[in-house]
Each structure stands twice: as C-alpha cells, then as structure tokens.
C-alpha cells in the first residue's frame, strides 16, 4: 500500500483539493435545501449578518446549519471507520455496518432508552460506545480468532449474524416498550436532524479528535497493508497499532451512531470510491474517505429532504437505497473480473 511516486502524490493532493471544493459546495447546498430553497445570498446573510426578524435566517441557523454540520462529521467519521476496518482486517468488505458494530451501538441505545427514558446525552454516547465495543469484541471472537480466520465470507456472515442478534433484541425491546419506540423510531432509521447543536458538540468533538488521531498512524497503516509479518519486519509495533485502530473504529462508530442512528453503507462504499480516486497511501486515502463520506452523506440528506415532500426520508434510508445497489454493482464488476 505504499506505491506512491512523487507525481502520484501531487496528483493525490490535487484530488483532495477538488474533493474539498466539492464538500464545500455540498455544504452550501445543504444550507439552501428545504421545502423552500434559499438563495446562496440568503445563506451568506443568515450566517454572517443574521437579522433576528427574518424567518429564513432562523431556519438556516437553527435547523439547516446543525444538520449540515452533523452530516459532515458523521459522514466523515463513518467513512474513515470503514476504511480503518478494511485496513485492519485486510478485507475489502469490512465496515462497521457490515460487521455489526453499528447494530451493537443501536442496541445499547435502545436498551438505555427503554430503561431510562430521560437519560442524558452523555449516557447515550456511553451506551453507544459500550455497544460498539461489545459488538467489536464478539465479531473478533466469532470471525477473526482461531487457527483459520477464514476469509472474507466468515467475517461478513459473523457480522450478519450479530446484526440479526442485536436487531432482534432491539425490536423485542421496542415492542415491549411502546413509548420508547416513539422516541427512537426516527433516530433508528438514521437521521442527522432534530437535535440542537448544543447537545451534540461533545460527540462531534470526539469524532473530530478520533479523525485527527488517524493522521500520525497513517504511515504505519501503510506498512500493515503488506501483512502483519512484513509490517513487523518494517519496524511497526503491530499489536499496538491494531489496538489503536480498534479503539478508533469503536469511538468513531459509537459516536456517529449516537449522533445519527443507523446509517449504513457509507463505511463500506466510500473507501472503495476513494481507492479509485487516490493512490494507495493512507495519508491521502483516509482524508479522501473523510471528504467523500461527508459529501455523500450531505447529498443523501439533501435528496432525502426533497424527494417525498412534505415528509422527510431519513438519511439512513437514503444511504442504504443508494449504497446497496452500488454495492451490488461493485460485486458484479468484481465477479466479472475474476471469472
């Protein structure tokens, strides 16, 4: 994973700059989009010269701005979590959604909501983190341990089984506790809206810190891509690196699920798209995943806001509806290549 020539690096930086521009455009679009679209001028006014009297300003500042920021952070967090998992397991199908980590975090939140309906936000986050960690532990026991770690299929199936397990429990709890159902339903579907920014900033901070922490590890991750033994001979402390990656994945996935519920396929599909655009170097690839993930989640949210007006389609539904067909197309391409 470190075949980076200087020219490729320059090219990669160029790609990152264009992705940044794309992200900014998507953010602007997300601030404009709604039942009534605002003009870019109105967005500018609302952000920098707000007048307390214009309804549109209020709408942009209190509704669209928070969900835009949440979508950016969650999209970046999930995409990077997926990329990290793919590096860790050297399995292109790994992602927090596929291996059941998202479902574990959701299950924990559902338990929390049905037992303590008025739990504070930090408790949600703690719960989500715990659930994510539990799922990570289980998937490790089921699929990655033992003499024969057993290829991509075992990991995927173990993840599917765990997802089924957690979902079954979540559903059971929701059937028993109907009030809880009402509280969490939209969140379960995956949503970036509906909660004020003041409640979310600790989670956003955690996600951003976790994203930053990837940077110093990126070079060692390149070495890990060549295999454990090779990485060790290149002077990487493999266990420590793997442990760090697991902690980062759990923190990212836990925080993102606590913020936005069940958003699938971002962690799976985005790393693949980024891999096509960028050279195989984690220092370029991971930022690329973050930018692309944020952009895609924003776009999914904008589309979700517009397609079924006056209702909103939860963004998690949108990502699955867009991501799943993409995933299947990817599989068919691969199948054709390998006969």
């Amino acid at each position: 994973m470190s075949d980076t020539t200087p020219e490729r690096s320059v090219q990669g930086v160029g790609v990152l700059l264009s992705l940044t521009a794309l992200l900014l455009a998507a953010m602007l679009m997300s601030l404009m989009a709604g039942a009534q679209w605002s003009t870019p001028v109105a967005v500018w006014q609302a952000l920098f010269h707000p007048s307390g009297l214009v309804v549109e300003d209020l709408l942009i500042r209190t509704t669209r701005l928070p969900r835009t920021l949440v979508a950016v952070v969650v999209g970046a967090g999930l995409a990077v979590a997926g990329a990290l998992m793919q590096t860790l397991t050297r399995n292109p199908l790994a992602s927090p959604g596929i291996v059941g980590i998202n479902a574990g975090a959701m299950f924990a939140v559902v338990v929390l909501v049905s037992m303590f309906p008025h739990a504070a936000l930090w408790a949600w986050y703690g719960g989500a983190l715990g659930g994510a960690a539990l799922a990570a532990l289980l998937v490790w026991m089921l699929a990655l341990r033992g003499q024969s770690p057993g290829g991509p299929l075992r990991l995927v199936l173990a993840g599917a089984a765990l997802t089924a397990l957690f979902n079954a429990f979540s559903q059971a709890l929701l059937v028993i506790d109907q009030q809880g159902l009402d509280t969490v339903l939209f969140w379960l579907a995956g949503a970036v809206s509906g909660r004020p920014l003041t409640h979310l900033w600790p989670l956003m901070a955690v996600t951003l810190v976790a994203l930053m922490l990837c940077w110093p590890l990126a070079r060692s991750m390149n070495a890990l891509g060549t295999g454990e033994a090779m990485a060790r001979s290149l002077g990487v402390r493999v266990y420590r690196l793997q442990g760090a990656i697991v902690v980062l994945v759990v923190a990212l996935a836990g925080a993102c699920v606590a913020m936005a519920g069940n958003i699938t396929f971002v962690g799976l599909v985005v790393p693949h798209m980024a891999r096509r655009l960028l050279p195989a170097d984690h220092r370029l690839w991971l930022p690329g995943c973050a930018l692309l993930g944020a952009t895609l989640l924003l776009l999914a949210d904008v589309v979700g806001r517009c397609v079924l007006q006056p209702r909103e389609v939860p963004v998690g539904v949108m990502t699955a509806l867009i991501g799943a067909p993409l995933f299947i197309v990817m599989l068919r391409r691969q199948g054709r290549r390998h006969g």
Binding site: M141, L157, A189, P314, M318, T319, A320
Partner: protein
C-alpha cells in the same frame, strides 16, 4: 458414533443410531411441551381438566384448548420446523455454518412486503392477504438476489454478499415505510417484524402444514445431493452432480420454506441460525437425521418461546419472537465461541 446399515431388498441406507435416538428423545420432549402449553395460559388447567377439555366436546374449557391454544402451538411448531430446515439447507448450500434465511434476502423481502401491506392495504383488504404479500415479497427478493448474483453460475460468496446488499436495501424500504406510516401501523408492523403466532387458527395451521409437506417431500428426494453441496464445485461435478442446477433447486426450496414460515409467523430471526447448530452436534455427517433434528429443534424453540411469551408476563401476551431471540442468542453465541476454539 457407530454407523449401522439398513438393507431391505434393494433399499439400503446408512444411519447413525445415536442421532435417531436423539430424534426420538426430542419428539418426547415436544409432546411434553405441547401438553404443558395446552394446560398453561390465562386459564390454568390441571391434568384432569386438560384431559376433559381435549376429550369432551362439551367441556367449558374445550374451546380455549382446542380452538385457541392447540392451533397456536401447532402453528408455532410448523413455523419453527420450516425455518430450522431452511436454515440447515442454506448452511449446507452456502458451505458456512453462519448462513441463515436472512442472508439471501427472504426475511427482508417478506418484511418489506408485509410492512407495506400493513401500512396501506390492511385496512381496505383485511388481514387475510398478509401471508400472501409476505410470500410474494420473500419470493421476489430471493429471485432478485439469485439473478443479481448470477454470472456464469452463482457462487456462495457472491450470493451471500448480494443477499446482504439486498437485505440492506429492503431493510431501508421497511424503515422508510415505518417512519412515514402512522404509529398504530408501526406497532403492528413491529410485532410482525419480531415474529408472533398470536391469534392463530386451524386454517392457518392446515395451509402452512400443506406448504411444509409440499416442500419437504422434494427435499427428502434430493437429500443425497444436499450432502454433496458442502464440497467444492469441482469435486461435486467430478462426482456427477449438476452443480448449478441442484444449487438453484435447493436454494428455491430453502427460500420457499423460509418464505412460507415467515408469511404466517412474521420475521422470526435466529431459528434458522440456531436450530441447525444444535442439530449438527453429535449427528455426524448423516444428512436425513441432521435435517430432522434441525426441524425438531426449530419447532421446539418456537414452541417454547411462544409458551414463555404467552405465560410469563400474564396478562400480557407478548410476541414469541422476543423469546426466540432471548432463548436462541445466548445458545448461538456459546456454540459458536466453542466451535472457534
């Protein structure tokens, strides 16, 4: 684990006496659970009262036992049996003990169809159409997964991955319908998604039983081919198996079994995952015994789950699916973790 041979004229079989002994033991346990389930409920019956309710057509409790409890228990058993066999068959065909009917999109297809039906069609058309909608959904999803995974034949890996993609897309549809439909629909949909045999009647039982028989007979005829399914394609071809044709047939049978079970009971997950695991222990490589054991374990699991769901929190009558997960999941995890060791 000593195999015996049975020969009668041209008929010949190998069989594992220990496995069939377990079949017999399980049948006994099932009879016991059946009797206990008949006796327990909001109206508790002693042995004498139960006997009277069963035998005497004019007994005051006869209606409860014969028209409410018995069909419900039998429906639970049939659903569990069908899911157990479907799961076992899929694990053979997919060559992986972690495969389950959810994997090939059957459950998610049925769920999406059933929830949409509950949201928009249940009021004009009534609840009788629900199983039909769920069956169509299951068949459609399974067919779509198979078609999308096809490229010079299907391989288990591609099938599973396509199935996961399909399950995610259909899950999103289900969630969408849930999110935009009124909360009353949502609740009944959630009950369906959890799996429940509440309100079962004799016509449900007879329809599902017919389906099960219709699907199990061809399966019994194909049992030899099922036992070759876990081999590499090259080996199986070398042994004279038309691999792709049989794979398609077995997948169709498994999907249909899971589909009809889900149609009448809702999305019971886990039965198809846990029951085959229990069956595989101690039953060697003998196909028929393993299948029968998966069938019985599945039936027993759902029967027990429904018994608990209906009696533990009286007067509440909870969906059985809750307890399938609660009873099955720890078992499943324990088995898997031990297997990995």
């Amino acid at each position: 684990m000593v195999e015996r041979t049975l020969r009668l004229g041209r008929f010949s079989r190998r069989f594992l006496p220990t496995a069939w002994a377990r079949v017999a033991a399980l049948l006994l346990v099932m009879m016991l659970v059946l009797l206990v389930s008949l006796a327990l409920g909001r109206v508790m019956l002693g042995p004498g009262a139960l006997l009277e309710a069963l035998m005497n057509p004019h007994a005051p409790t006869g209606l409860i036992v014969r028209e409410l409890r018995l069909p419900r228990i039998l429906l639970a058993a049939l659903i569990g049996a069908a899911l157990g066999v479907a799961g076992w068959l899929l694990q053979q065909v997919m060559r992986n003990p972690l495969a389950s009917p959810d994997i090939i999109g059957v459950t998610s297809g049925a769920s999406a169809a059933a929830v949409s039906y509950l949201a928009w069609l249940a009021v004009p058309l009534g609840m009788a159409g629900l199983p039909v909608a769920a069956m169509l959904g299951a068949a459609g999803a399974a067919l779509a997964v198979y078609t999308l995974a096809w490229s010079h034949g299907v391989t288990p890996l591609r099938l599973v991955l396509t199935g996961i993609g399909m399950a995610a897309a259909l899950g999103a549809v289900t969630t969408l319908v849930l999110a935009i439909s009124p909360l009353t629909t949502t609740l009944s949909a959630y009950v369906w998604l959890t799996g429940s045999v509440y309100g079962a009647n004799w016509s449900d039982v007879s329809s599902l039983a017919l389906w099960c028989v219709a699907l199990l007979v061809p399966l019994a005829a194909l049992m030899r081919q099922v036992m070759l399914a876990p081999l590499d394609d090259a080996l199986a071809t070398g042994l004279g198996l038309a691999v792709q044709r049989h794979r398609a047939a077995l997948l169709a049978l498994a999907s249909a079994l899971a589909g009809v079970a889900v149609a009448w009971g809702g999305a019971f997950v886990f039965v198809g995952l846990v029951a085959p695991h229990l069956a595989r222990r101690l039953s060697g490589y003998s196909g028929t015994a393993q299948m029968v054991l998966a069938l019985l374990y599945g039936a027993l699991l759902v029967m027990l789950a429904d018994l608990v769901a209906r009696t533990l929190f009286l007067p509440l009558d909870l969906p059985a699916g809750i307890f399938v997960a609660a009873l099955g999941a720890p078992f499943f995890l324990a088995l898997l973790i031990r297997e990995v060791r």
